[in-house]
């Protein structure tokens, strides 16, 4: 009986460990090219793309409109999505969004 309990515990622990390792890999990652479009098109494109994604998915949006650095995070705050990263390079801005549940 005690052996069975140990086996069951190890099975459960192993499953949990596997899930913890695999979950970030199961999340899908997507890229959206919103370059050469001006406000509010980067937001609209992000909004429409996110509507197709699943909770937990990551979307990397690249824009040339520097206003997107304000606009996309503002849209995310309003709609409950999470901005994971932003990068402001010389000619492009990149925003990584995690889709909310």
């Amino acid at each position: 009986m005690s052996c069975l309990a140990v086996l069951l515990f190890m099975h459960a622990f192993g499953s949990l460990l596997l899930l913890t390792i695999l979950t970030p890999l199961i999340m899908s990652q997507y890229k959206l090219d919103a370059r050469h479009s001006l406000c509010p098109m980067p937001v609209i494109k992000t909004q429409n793309k996110i509507a197709e994604l699943q909770p937990g998915d990551l979307l990397e949006v690249t824009c040339t409109d520097p206003g997107a650095l304000n606009d996309i995070p503002a849209w995310c705050r309003i709609n409950g999505h999470l901005v994971k990263e932003t990068h402001d390079n010389d000619d492009e801005v990149v925003i990584v969004v995690q889709v909310a549940s």
């Binding site: 406000c39 509010p40 098109m41 937001v43 909004q47 040339t64 503002a74 849209w75 000619d91």
Partner: protein, 352 residues
Amino acid sequence: MSTQTNSEQKRAVALISGGLDSLLAAKVMLDQGIHVEGINFYTGFCVEGHTHAIRKKDKAKPKRNNALWSAEQLGIKLHIIDIIDEYKDVLINPKHGYGANMNPCLDCKIFMISKAKQWMQENGFDFIITGEVMGQRPMSQRKDLLPVVVRESGADDLLVRPLCAKNLDATLPEREGWIDREKMKGFSGRNRKPQMALAKEYGFEDYATPAGGCCFLTDKSYSDKLVDLWQARNKKEYELDDIMLLKVGRHLRPAPHFKLIVSREDGENKFLQGYKKRFASIEIKSHNGPLTLIDGELGDEDLKLASRIAARFSQGREADIVTVKTTTKEGEEKLFDIPPMPASEIKQEWYI
């Protein structure tokens, strides 16, 4: 205080332009316990700091989308809807005509409210809110035209205007007791002080300047370029890129069959770079100068003329000779020397 119980909370979709009035109208409804979500329609002609996003000298200015800012102030969701294609018929064939420039304001308002009604029905909402104020806008908010908007949009008595509701007939939400008419406003006319006082009462600061132009179609210079585009093409049509380019650079038409778009500074240069595969272009190689896009088909003599004009706007404008590089849409390049055109030879009528 809410006029409804939580179990029957009514839902309203608010047209949020980013201006003060739509912000206040939504707030008045939120205060009555209505669930509000915002909707903002993008026609392609929105002003919203476009030039700030492009021009290098403006990059230090804070940029924001005012509709998103409004939604965040209110704590409501905002749905931004691309209506660029549908809007073409509104602009090209406005039933109620144009305003002072190419602005079909009444048709535009009717169209947007009809779209809001469609969204309301598709999403299970109960009524529509706008920030319209009787007598404020010279075209779409005239007292005699507000009922036209109601009727022709199909919104009928599901359209509530919280800022001037006391001047208008009661709507269904009021008659049904979903909202309290006495808690709405009776603003009218062009004076913005009542709205600004209400904003202060609500604690709203840093809102978009009241009465600021929000649509390029109300701008004469922009409208002239749009009309020129249609005349040159001999048809009233456009794509998003066309109307974006009208907002950027100097536009000159030295001959009926071609137009030049000459960037005015480094930010515009970078923006126009994105269009080099769509247009032939001219770059000044011997001096700092603009990127110039050519809209039209040019023979050799026209290309020389265009190059001399482009050189005029460069830092080599007073030089005897400037080296230019022309590139066709297909990527074929030519490098040659040319004298810049004297300022006196740039005809005023070339400017659009």
